[in-house]
Amino acid sequence: MAILETLLHPEYLDLFYFSALGVLFSCLISFLPALHIYNVIGIFLLVILKFEATMAPMQLIALCIGMIVGYSILNTVPATYFGPGDESLSYYILPSAAWVAKGRGVESILLTGVGAVGGIIMLAVLAPAFLWFMPGLKTITSPHMFWILGTVIAYMVLSEWPKGISQSESCWENFLEGWKFLSVGLATFLLSGFLGFIVMAKTLVPIEFAFQSITPVFVGLFAIPWLITNIINIGLIPKQHDPESIEMDWGLICRGTFGGFLGGFFAAYIPIVTAGVGGLMAGHATAQRDGRLFVMSYGTCKTVYYVGSFMLFFIPGLSLTRGGLAWIVTPVVSVLTMKEYALFVALMLFSAGMAYLMLAPFTRMCIWIVEKIEYFWVSVVALLIVIPAVFAFTSWGGLAIMTVSTGIGLLPVMFQARRMNLMGVLLLPVCINMAGYGNDVMRFLGLI
């Protein structure tokens, strides 16, 4: 009752205003191709901090909640039609591209949206339970995070199966054909891992933009290769069917949401692990096979990952800082109580409802754009936005990093290996640093 009174107090209505503003802003951010929310919020923070005095900490948090919830639901649309911004999205993009090719892009987006809302509802329902079991989980796992990351890496590498379809008489020829894909995957993982070490130890990004040092890496690894692929493979997007209803049942919703929640929660809780990696593991753990199930489950997974990692930060007494957004708001938050936690849940539900209502019109708008403007030009314009944006915030050093990252990012595209291997850029250095071997590796690489 006390919580309800708190939520309905007129004093807090401005928070809903800022959340709504955040959702609208996320619409704009997710519409810009190839930009990740954490990068944009980082840039946005530069502006916000200048008039920090006019904005209370909780208002800034409400704005961030609106942005992250809105982004996690709406980003599916531009990712489907314009290209993924990060690894979490590129995991989804290949299956969704198949739906788009069949004119069923809207259906895929709406299924993802249902999954996303399902994930938000699960987060809200489990919010009281988090208070009960999260402290215990943190106590148990804290000393073990580095090897848990090690197992994630090991599974990522070991679970990539050969794709070669050589039908030669020679066993060795077939073997080498199959291993070509695996070798590219391994090379991608190791190269991106070395790049991660270099960027973390000796970044070329100017010190005043240090918080953006990872931006050119991500843009290079994920966004630009996708845009280049779009530009080279000039293809027409077929007429998109706008369905009056979509086929689903409670069984599909429950299975999709459950599997996606597991993956998203794992990714939210374990540092560095993204929704793509979490989704892969949860998909295998729950033996998902159905295409609709995958799409819906992905919606839940990425939403739980983005929003859940921010939500963990608000659990009173837990001090669990996961995800870029939690780090961004850390300086403005002094004390976190049950009141803030309850407000977080309320604002999250409000933002999710608003974002879901915007999903269909936003999708139609994107379809209108891709039908009016050639896909080739959309990708060219996106490229022309992204490169100057990286230059503006990270200077020549950032451009240099972005160029190298693009080279590595093109490897899995060209050889049809898993793009997830590019996450080696964070997984490898962080895992090795957490295990205490970081300095040895950096010494070996001549970085210190």
């Binding site: 753990a285 033996a287 295990a435």
Partner: protein, 362 residues
Amino acid sequence: MKGFTHFISGIAVASFFPQAVHMASQEQSFILCLGGIFGIMPDTLDFKFAKYFHKSDFEIKPDPNNLDAMVIAETVAKAIRKAEQEGRGTVQLHTMQLGSNLWRSYTLAFDSATSEVVVDIGPEVDTGQVPFEGTELKDPVKAHARVKVESQFFQQFDKKSQIAIMSGPCFEFVKRGEGKIEIVFLPWHRTWSHSFTLGLLIALLVGIFTFFTVAEGPNPELYSIPRWLLYPLIILFGSMVHIIEDSTGFMGNNLFYPFTKDRTNGLGLMSAAEAIPNFLFVWTSVICILYNLDRFRWAPESTPPGIESVGSYFFWFYAIPLAVMAWFFFKGKREKGSKDKPKSSDFDSATSVERETDASII
């Protein structure tokens, strides 16, 4: 079982060694990962190595421009006839790739009631195995074939095998008692790699290596197993749990290769691709890992536990989910049972019930 199930089960097994948990938390050791790596290792050996070096007696590479189901069925029948005469015969079926995302599908079935090999040329499909309407073969003579063989044959389940995308399956035909021919699906899979003997051999080699290279760690008086022995034991039990899990399915393993020649049948309790059994093993492993990490935490007298009540932990996080999984599993079985009333297989009708050849689900 899925690769992930084996992987996490291997980690769970490793977490039962207190010294391994202490090494992880106190010495930044990745030893627990070893259980996971060797948990998935048998399938890695099969699908990344053994698959490529298996030689078949017959290979079927259908010509997409001159499709004829009879040619395929006849070649399969030849392999069966070879088994009738020589004891064993193998056939490898290849896929037909027509474009970057376009394949021609066909199915192969063995009708044990009539001793016939049944082949159907299917429609063109994309890599997601979604068929393109109107691409079916128009000529029924070329599209469907049945070839009779002398011997009776038997297999574990009467299902069509769909050959559509990536690499196709391989079949071995083995002459058994009373002249019956056993049909063995993927003969290179779950043989030497899924044997107790290989696990033991690797553990032995690693044990010899660690005996000479791994020094005793701090506080040896706390442990009953010397540190050098931990590594081979984790490897052995990690690979064993894979074999045990696979034995719950249909295909089984060759437990004592090379002393035993063939795969034994599995218990047939569940299918490798079923969601709930896979998740049951995964969830059990997660619960065990967390429980072991907590009870084997370093300095338990001065470190608060993460699990305050073991009974409550197992009740809320294991018994309740287990009951929910059991309810859904048996509900699914009942529903499936009521749908599958006619027991005889109809190989000539269009059906989506096919046997999987995809590595990721086996």
